[in-house]
């Protein structure tokens, strides 16, 4: 029992961490800019066939539920591209507008994207080019909840539906204890 707890805690410390990226307004932002806020972090790309749109719709629903709930703080959703070659700030802005006005899109150099993916342990791999020069990026489908201290709190897989997701976020917000010792 004790062993399990230790494992959970060490896992917690290893996910997330500092990052710097360019937001869809062209401004350089770092993880520190979001300290003090609850954020959801999801990775995807604008040419994504079906999963990213579904996940983004789910995230938009969860965020609206949380923001409408007067008993908990608001939630800021971040969408980080795993396809920085094609996902320019303009493309990100247009794409995300169709899901929610609240989602903030991020792109960056290949190194910046590599680093943030490593920090969140997100795997991504560009598939082969087809005849049109088009391709699909295979990537980890996980949404991360990060607390106001910048630390990872919880992750949500593709199989978690919006109501369950929302309930869990509310619970995490209500039982939250910050760790500012970093």
């Amino acid at each position: 029992m004790v062993k399990q707890e230790v494992k959970a805690l060490s896992g917690k410390a290893a996910i997330g961490g500092p990052w710097s990226l360019v937001d869809f307004n062209g401004e350089l932002k770092t993880s520190k800019d979001f300290h003090g806020k609850w954020i959801l972090v999801y990775f995807g790309f604008t040419h994504c066939p079906d999963i990213c749109p579904e996940e983004l719709e789910k995230i938009a629903e969860v965020v609206d539920e949380i923001d409408d709930n007067p008993n908990v703080p608001n939630l800021t959703p971040l969408f980080i591209t795993v396809d920085p070659d094609r996902d320019t700030i303009g493309a990100m802005k247009e794409y995300l507008k169709e899901f929610s006005q609240k989602v903030i899109g991020f792109t960056g150099t290949s190194d910046q994207i590599d680093n943030v993916c490593k920090a969140f342990r997100v795997y991504y791999s560009k598939g082969p080019l087809d005849e049109d020069g088009d391709y699909i990026v295979d990537h980890t489908i996980i949404t991360y909840l990060v607390g106001p201290d910048g630390n990872f709190v919880q992750y949500y897989g593709q199989n978690v539906e919006a109501p369950e997701f929302t309930k869990s976020v509310i619970e995490k917000m209500k039982t939250y204890k910050p760790h500012y010792d970093k």
Binding site: T46, H47, P49, P53, R86, E94, Y95, D132, D134, I136
Partner: protein, 81 residues
């Protein structure tokens, strides 16, 4: 190349679903769904079609595995496409 917007995505999904429903209704005989196949291929990008087809194949494979298919002792499964 621009990504497909919401409207284009929905048109593509519908064309995809129409095609695969036709295949299902015809017990897997794709030759009866050629027209729907060409609509599907015209409404979705090539890489999306490839992605969706692979997923259908994978789901079929999973279904057959769940139904008791044994890849060691039985004949290889015929690919769906």
């Amino acid at each position: 190349m621009a990504y497909p917007n919401k409207e284009e995505r929905e048109i593509c999904y519908k064309a995809r679903d129409d095609f695969w429903k036709c295949v299902e209704d015809n017990d897997g005989d794709k030759s009866k769904c050629k027209k729907l196949r060409s609509i599907y291929e015209s409404k979705c990008s090539k890489s999306w079609v490839k992605h969706f087809d692979k997923r259908v194949e994978f789901l079929n494979y999973k279904k057959q595995m769940a139904a008791g298919y044994d890849p060691i002792t039985q004949e290889p499964l015929k690919p769906e496409t």
